[in-house]
């Protein structure tokens, strides 16, 4: 077997328990949603439960990677001894997590769609709404959840790599402090940078209008391809730095 497939299979086994646990938690939560909806006599309550669960999937990769990386830390010497480059080791984790996210997202999206169209019947509430609007909006939301979740997962991996380097050279407390500081400081720095004129000149281009009905209008009417390109580059940069740190600086 190719080493990459062997590593993917190992990551699948490592993450499988957590992914099944997350699915069970999802169904328990939805069960609570059914009960709350029945007690309140309001079907829309269940739809709200579904929508919340759907949106919370942006944090799925953060949870998955936390569990996977913490478990890996216990056997770090085995992981570092593998012949694969660090970026492939990280990609094996990210891909497995992303697969698990896609599966869970598909289930909650289907349940949300069924609850929105059959339990609540949004078409009755708004006669202008079409299936095309519902499906297009759903796909748009799901794609963004998949991308944002992956982005957060890569960001977390980056912080983990820094934590491993710092905690080895300065101690675990310093590693935690620096990790937490970066967790708050980097998003702040990014928001400052994204507010500059230079950022707008470089990355706010390629406007695409989203032609949905007013009801299906989610949070924005248009997007910029340049903005996606910027985040793609940033994700690549974070993954590159994390891989480099693991390859060259992380020790056991």
């Amino acid at each position: 077997m190719n080493p990459w497939w062997g590593q993917l299979a190992k990551e699948y086994r490592l993450g499988r328990g957590g992914a099944i646990g997350a699915l069970i938690a999802l169904f328990l939560y939805l069960g609570i949603g059914v009960y709350a909806s029945w007690r309140m006599g309001n079907p829309e309550t269940f739809l709200a439960f579904c929508a919340f669960a759907l949106m919370m999937h942006v944090l799925y990769m953060a949870g998955y990677m936390c569990v996977s990386l913490i478990r890996e830390q216990r056997t770090l010497h085995l992981w570092l001894q593998t012949p694969l480059p660090a970026y492939k080791l990280l990609l094996a984790k990210l891909l497995n997590g992303w697969g698990a996210l896609a599966f869970s997202l598909f289930i909650i999206s289907a349940i949300t769609l069924l609850s929105g169209t059959m339990v609540v019947n949004l078409f009755e509430l708004d006669p202008e709404l079409t299936w095309r609007d519902v499906i297009s909006t759903g796909i748009l939301i799901d794609i963004h959840i998949l991308l944002i979740a992956l982005y957060i997962g890569i960001g977390l991996t980056f912080l983990w790599a820094i934590y491993l380097v710092v905690s080895k050279s300065l101690g675990k407390v310093s590693g935690n402090v620096i990790g937490i500081c970066l967790f708050f400081f980097l998003p702040w720095l990014m928001s400052k940078w994204e507010g500059t004129g230079l950022f707008h000149a470089l990355f706010i281009w390629g406007k695409v209008d989203l032609n949905f009905s007013d009801v299906a209008y989610v949070a924005f009417r248009h997007v910029y391809i340049g903005y996606y390109f910027y985040h793609f580059l940033l994700a690549l940069l974070l993954l590159f730095i994390a891989s480099w740190l693991i390859e060259r600086k992380v020790e056991v």
């Binding site: 190719n2 497939w5 001894q81 593998t82 694969l84 101690g171």
Partner: protein, 242 residues
């Protein structure tokens, strides 16, 4: 060292510090190919650090370590099979799955040899790693390490936690499962008496400094002392081999 003998591993003025603590200090050593080499010394002398440096999972603070002429980085794992002293495994695998995982990772992994070693170690392939006793986990670690056809095999305390009968069987197994035409074995252990009969060379380290390196046969024939007696003598003399 005799000229003409291929040098497999070279430590060139290596210092390794963990924060301000030096585990190895200006350590220079050249190890030959095709031998069983014992790395001995007290706890905290730097033996495990030396093996980790060869395996490339840590880097020197100063100096360099080379394996077969190549600087030891994390990717040296294509030439080095490393058994860690840590009792850490992928516990979700069975014994058989662990072997398959290693076989998938390393192109040099000899599956047939691994099966032979599992039989020799009397390991049940269907058993989950998390359900194995500490001794059996140790045997599994040895099996997957020895099954690789690499020039250098490193074993950090492979006999720790094993009962005396098993230790004896493993020491004998080392001779059967290593190809001395192609492989060098470096082993650290506190069970010196048990591995003494199979060692070719012994390297004594204290406080991160190389004290002495001797041919075991010469110790036996010329000085008529065991390794432990030799260690005591060198510690008393405080002799440093430079």
């Amino acid at each position: 060292m005799k000229s003409g003998v291929k040098r497999m591993i070279e430590f060139n003025h290596v210092t390794k510090k963990y924060r301000s603590q030096a585990a190895l200090n200006d350590f220079s050593l050249s190890l030959p190919a095709g031998k069983i080499i014992g790395l001995v010394g007290e706890n905290g002398s730097g033996k495990s650090t030396a093996l980790k440096l060869i395996s490339g999972i840590i880097s020197p603070t100063k100096g360099s370590v080379t394996v077969d002429g190549e600087v030891a980085t994390r990717r040296i794992s294509s030439k080095v099979s490393y058994l860690s002293e840590l009792d850490a495994y992928y516990t979700f695998y069975t014994v058989g799955e662990t072997v398959s995982y290693y076989a998938s990772l390393y192109s040099d992994f000899n599956q047939r040899k691994a099966e032979e070693i599992l039989d020799y170690m009397k390991l049940d392939r269907r058993k989950k790693v998390k359900d194995l006793s500490k001794g059996n986990r140790g045997r599994l670690k040895i099996a997957v390490t020895l099954a690789r056809e690499v020039p250098v095999i490193l074993m950090d305390e492979p006999l720790s936690g094993l009962d005396p009968i098993v230790r004896d069987a493993i020491v004998k197994g080392l001779l059967s499962f290593i190809d001395f035409e192609k492989q060098t074995l470096i082993i650290t252990t506190h069970e010196i008496k048990e591995i003494e009969p199979i060692l070719d060379t012994v390297v004594l380290i204290k406080d991160g400094v190389l004290l002495k390196m001797e041919d075991v046969e010469e110790l036996r024939m010329e000085q008529n002392v065991s390794i432990v007696e030799w260690m005591k003598q060198v510690y008393q003399d405080g002799g440093i081999d430079k």
